[in-house]
């Protein structure tokens, strides 16, 4: 009898060990060039459109497919009883298509409302942060560079995910904690300091809550962290200390009326003073076509030569296939800083195809 039970247990165990493996993925093949631009002559930067800060997707006057093209593969194994394992590998043109694990985590459903996830994930700082790579999931070529100027975009840690409702409102929330130690941060190393820079964000603690009902969606977030930095092996010192605290606040509101939609995002990072960013975009769906406009802005608090830049964009998304979209976008960047200039003024055209599979 006892033997029978253990046999049954064995059968059950081997059944649950039989994983249900799903493979999915996304790709974007994007190209573009700067039509005209000032560059930053005093830093030796040629006319450049920096479409993305953390990955350093920089277009120049030479047409290129490299800056923003990417392919991502996700493998997810569902092990039963709420347990799953997910890995996502992304190869970017900006990194010579070297494939890297961007996500690697275990997920366990505690109950119908709560899921706990641990491992390497995307830091859900801005509204579009965690699906930034999945171009198919949003209307533009990319979320606006003026807003998405973060150095760190992944973290290793733990995340509690909540799904539920309050009255007629659906609510999702994330509570997360973790750390990221990037031994050779691309944005800081290649663009800002032009010296190998190790960027550490530790004691990351953050929360995100998203409420949605009918045509309206509102997202609020707060995150705090401690920043340490080594430029060329030398610790950066701020106010006599080798670390500084950053606090991030974000509000996003999206209204979707079917044909018309308006998307917006307002963020503040308090890191030795306030860095304020916003984005407002609107679009109109006409069958398979969605023309849109967007403005985005970055401003450092203070007077004099602060970091200040904005972008105006106009574009079109065409859902020409059930799993693919073509997009084309024109961007006009105005960079108002001198010492803190990023890439100067520019006008650029970019276009591409986003696929999910």
């Amino acid at each position: 009898m006892k033997f029978n039970y253990s046999l049954i247990a064995l059968v059950c165990a081997s059944l649950s060990a039989h994983a249900d493996v799903n493979i999915s993925g996304f790709a974007s093949i994007n190209g573009g060039k700067v039509l005209s631009g000032t560059g930053v002559p005093h830093y030796g930067v040629e006319p450049t459109f920096l479409a993305d800060y953390p990955i350093v997707s920089a277009y120049t006057e030479d047409f290129s497919f490299k800056p923003e093209s990417l392919i991502g593969l996700q493998v997810s194994a569902v092990l039963g009883e709420g347990l799953s394992v997910t890995g996502q590998v992304v190869a970017r043109g900006a990194n010579d298509y070297n494939a890297e694990f961007e996500w690697a985590y275990i997920s366990y459903e505690l109950n119908e409302n709560w899921t706990v996830q641990a491992g390497k994930k995307r830091l859900p700082l801005f509204y579009y942060s965690d699906f930034y790579d999945v171009g198919y999931a949003y209307v533009w070529m990319r979320p606006p560079a003026d807003n998405y100027t973060w150095q760190i975009f992944n973290y290793e840690g733990i995340n509690f995910l909540y799904n539920g409702s309050i009255g007629d409102w659906s609510m999702t929330a994330n509570l997360y904690a973790g750390k990221e130690d990037d031994p050779n941060n691309k944005l800081l190393s290649d663009f800002f300091f032009q010296s190998p820079t190790r960027e550490i964000w530790e004691d990351i603690l953050g929360g995100v809550a998203t409420f949605s009902k009918d045509w309206l969606e509102v997202r609020v977030t707060h995150m705090q962290y401690t920043n340490k930095r080594f430029v060329g092996g030398v610790a950066s010192i701020w106010d006599g200390k080798d670390s500084r605290d950053g606090k991030f606040y974000g509000l996003a509101a999206n209204a979707d009326f079917g044909d018309w939609f308006v998307l917006s995002e307002f963020n503040r990072l308090d890191l030795d003073g306030n860095l304020d960013t916003y984005m407002v975009s609107a679009g109109y769906r006409i069958g398979e076509f969605t023309p849109y406009v967007m403005i985005s802005d970055f401003k450092q608090d203070g007077t004099g030569d602060v970091e200040k830049h904005n972008t105006k964009a106009i574009g079109l998304r065409w859902d020409f296939h059930s799993s693919a979209a073509f997009k084309v976008q024109f961007d006009k960047v105005q960079d108002d800083s001198y010492d803190l200039a990023v890439a100067g003024d520019s006008e650029a055209i970019t276009f591409g195809v986003d696929v999910v599979f």
Partner: protein, 135 residues
């Protein structure tokens, strides 16, 4: 004769605008309005009002039933829905409903599992399932 012709015309036109029936297992007594159905099929609601975990079943995107359901209940085009799910799938926040080929497969699954919910063309409904809403 005239009357019959009118009636059959009326019947014909109903079947042309077949309509969508949202169906559950006959034993399921949960309350389900359009908003709840929308939340279930967009991954925002994971349990029935009776407390049981919900397993939504959708159909291949090429079926007429899916087109009609997406438009009338989810208020989204196929492309919008795909964009919505890609956002969740690649961020570990959700997985789209299990997809089957046609009305018959939905009917089989629903009639055999009390935790499922699906949609079929109204004409495909029989006594093995319970209709909770029609659109």
């Amino acid at each position: 004769m005239m009357k019959y012709a009118l009636i059959s015309l009326a019947l014909l036109s109903t079947s042309a605008f077949a309509g969508i029936a949202v169906v559950v297992h006959p034993s399921n007594n949960s309350e389900l309005d359009a908003a709840a159905i929308n939340r279930i099929f967009t991954g925002k609601e994971k349990a029935f009002s009776n407390g049981n975990k919900v397993i939504p079943i959708s159909q291949d995107s090429a079926t007429g039933a899916t087109g009609e359901f997406n438009e009338k209940v989810l208020n989204k085009t196929a492309a919008q829905l795909k964009a919505y799910w890609s956002k969740l799938v690649f961020t570990g926040k959700g997985t789209p409903p299990k997809e089957v080929m046609n009305d018959q497969e939905v009917m089989q699954l629903i009639s055999s599992n009390p935790d499922t919910i699906g949609y079929v063309s109204s004409g495909a409904v029989d006594g093995s399932v319970k209709v909770v809403a029609e659109f």
